[in-house]
């Protein structure tokens, strides 16, 4: 392995290079653009052999990736924010067609008002589109997820597209020292893409068809099953990854000092690092606090979260998202899981970081302080919330 100083975007592009996609459909959007720029350079210098397609929109980016996947080629695209929303029709289409495309999404706020900075409203608004959704914490994890994404998406029991999310700017544009695996190691990890779900010149097929109510219902059930199956394949991929690369990941969630924690923040993405640091600070003052980092929003780790927080007295979800008129979407998902899996814990929701607004360690300390009380509230950090 070679150590390199890379931004999150560059690290992800390195992971994609190692995964050898056969078709890349590229369209620029800040803060994702660097990914497709790096990939174009890799194609130019022949460190990656791939058909690099300059599409004219995100809608076409995904449509092109589906065409490639439908003939059995490994396909990649990347987007962000408005681009993700513009291709939204294709998201449902790709998952319904069971095309295991990988797409990187640089999490960015959605207009209006226009804003190029990071929040997670773009991808979280698409949780129901049938894609696997991962959220990386740092550049190393971004690279490793890029490589693992195809293993998971293309697995026969899964056959589901994969959206790898990186926080805009905070992760996509921040440089870190990253271990870049050798090509030989990567090839040992990731098998070639093979599938029966393709147009085959020797055995012609009709794909992406219509299905009436009776059949449609069964196809949707199978799609749900495929996404649920991803959970065990993620474990399998991480096991194999650890064997080859020596880095071990923790499945759908990562827990940090939760064993004896009375108060736990549940969050996702790059903010997790700061929450962990704040936990360390508070632990020095003997406060029993911890973190659950959600690594995958789909399949959703409901059981894992409930298990991790069941002995706590209060949890807070910290998320860069709001389902207007209700609460944060992560909170909705978490609360449902706590109820379903019998974790008797009070919960609050903290909305922060919208449009790239900074979340400070003091904000996080404040959350831990507030949830000492029994209130269950939905609160915008630094602004306020509903009165309970």
């Amino acid at each position: 392995m070679a150590k390199k100083f890379l931004s999150g975007n560059e690290a992800f592009a390195e992971g994609i290079r190692l995964a050898r996609p056969q078709v890349i459909s590229a369209y620029p959007i800040t803060p994702q653009t660097i990914v497709v720029e790096r990939l174009s350079e890799m194609v130019e210098d022949k460190s990656l052999e791939s058909e690099f397609i300059h599409v004219e929109s995100e809608h076409s980016a995904l449509s092109c990736a589906m065409g490639a996947s439908a003939v059995g080629a490994r396909a990649f695209t990347a987007t962000s924010s408005q681009g993700l929303l513009y291709m939204a029709e294709g998201l449902y289409y790709a998952s319904g067609g069971r095309f295991p495309i990988v797409m990187m999404n640089a999490n960015r706020s959605t207009a209006l008002p226009w804003n190029i900075y990071g929040d997670q409203r773009d991808s979280l608004s698409q949780l129901d589109s049938g894609w696997i959704q991962s959220y990386a914490e740092n550049a190393q994890e971004a690279l490793d997820m890029a490589l693992m994404s195809y293993y998971i998406a293309e697995h026969k029991d899964v056959s589901t597209p994969y959206m790898a999310n990186l926080d805009g700017f905070v992760l996509t544009h921040t440089y870190e020292v990253v271990d870049v695996p050798e090509r030989e190691q990567a090839d040992r990890f990731l098998p070639k893409f093979t599938t029966d779900n393709k147009l085959d010149l020797e055995n012609p097929r009709n794909l992406a068809f219509s299905a009436g109510p009776d059949h449609n219902y069964i196809f949707k059930y199978k799609e749900h099953e495929g996404l649920l199956n991803a959970a065990k394949v993620i474990d399998e991929a991480e096991e194999k990854f650890a064997d080859i690369f020596g880095r071990r990941y923790t499945g759908l969630i990562e827990t940090y000092k939760t064993e004896d924690a009375e108060r736990i923040i549940i969050t996702l993405g790059s903010i997790s690092g700061l929450v962990k640091e704040t936990v360390n600070k508070l632990r020095e003052k003997d406060e029993k606090v911890g973190v659950v980092r959600i690594r995958y929003m789909r399949p959703f780790p409901g059981k894992e979260i409930a298990e991790a927080v069941k002995n706590a007295s209060h949890i807070a979800v910290l998320e860069k998202d709001i389902s207007f008129g209700n609460e944060g979407t992560v909170y909705t998902n978490v609360n449902s899981a706590l109820h379903r899996f019998g974790a008797d814990v009070r919960s609050s929701d903290y909305i922060g970081g919208l449009g790239g607004k900074n979340i400070s360690s003091a904000d996080i300390e404040d959350i831990f302080e507030r949830i000492k009380n029994d209130d269950t509230e939905v609160r915008f950090l630094g602004i306020g919330g509903e009165e309970n």
Binding site: I53, H59, S60, C64, G67, G90, L199, L207
Partner: protein
């Protein structure tokens, strides 16, 4: 050109579908696939031909075929082409069949992108002059005066007020390697153009008039006849764009009657003599331009 009614492939690749009786679009797809053969991969957007052909488990394409998103015919064709090329497979034809709405309205951006990249695909627009699958709504290829369910013919507005967009010249303006117009009324010409296009590398665009008896208000056994008449009366023309220049394949010395063509269709029933004069005038203006800029073949 070698293909004619006698040498045409006897295999049916588009068979068992539930298109309306007399459907011009299904005839265009059926014949084009016979010309292109079994190694063609058809991409069809949401629209008439996908609605009638892909109802699981009754799937009626004998060759590989897939439905794309409505706007995504050309971009999915690109993916198919690039995906096979990346696997070292080159002996196939990626062919799109999209209607007038799927081409000239919602699919125009993706089509322009594909022509710009010069991807090796064949795009066939079967033009029935309205959104027929959803029940006859106006598209940008609906001709002046036509009554549709979104351009009603009433006291204040008499049908569609706009002229038909010229998709053939729009495709040509990209300096595409090959573009052509055709009509299912002149089926040998259409077959020859599909065959010719299949042998040219890069993007090819064929725009074929394919009447819809349901939407046009003609009897279902009149499809081919009226597709011929629209050419004979000069409201449609058979042409090609190749090597940077236009050529007209058929220059009628005398046009047949526009009025007769108009009067036999339900969609134009409300038009008066003045409206028909508008149609004739615009035809003459177009032919004046054709005679100036297109070479005779």
């Amino acid at each position: 050109m070698s293909i004619n009614a006698k040498t045409l492939d006897k295999t049916e690749y588009f068979y068992g579908h539930k298109a309306c009786a007399g459907c011009g679009g299904s005839l265009a797809v059926r014949i084009a696939l016979k010309v292109l053969g079994k190694r063609s991969i058809a991409v069809l957007p949401a629209g008439c031909m996908s609605a009638v052909g892909f109802n699981f488990p009754q799937l009626c394409f004998g060759n590989n075929a897939i439905i794309s998103t409505f706007a995504g015919t050309a971009s999915m064709l690109t993916g198919v082409y690039a995906g096979l090329k990346a696997q070292g497979i080159t002996d196939f034809q990626a062919v799109g069949f999209a209607g007038d709405g799927g081409t000239a309205d919602i699919g125009l951006q993706a089509l322009s992108g594909a022509i710009d990249r010069n991807d090796d695909i064949l795009y066939i627009c079967y033009d029935n002059e309205a959104y027929m699958n959803t029940g006859i709504q106006k598209s940008s290829l609906t001709p002046f005066g036509a009554k549709t369910t979104t351009t009603p013919a009433g006291k204040n507005i008499r049908g569609n007020l706009r002229q038909k967009k010229n998709m053939f010249e729009i495709a040509a303006a990209h300096d595409i390697p090959y573009a052509a117009t055709a009509s299912i009324g002149y089926i040998n010409d259409f077959m020859a153009k599909v065959e010719k296009a299949s042998k040219i590398r890069g993007t090819k665009y064929i725009h074929v008039i394919a009447p819809c008896p349901t939407g046009w208000g003609v009897a279902s056994d009149q499809t081919v006849d009226i597709a011929k008449e629209v050419v004979d009366c000069g409201l449609w023309y058979l042409a090609e764009y190749e090597n940077g220049s236009f050529k007209i394949n058929r220059r009628p010395k005398e046009f047949s009657s526009v009025e007769e063509y108009i009067r036999r269709q339900g969609r134009f029933k409300h038009l008066n003599d003045e409206d028909i004069k508008v149609i004739i005038d615009s035809r003459d203006k177009k032919w004046e331009a054709i005679d100036k800029t297109y070479s005779l073949q």
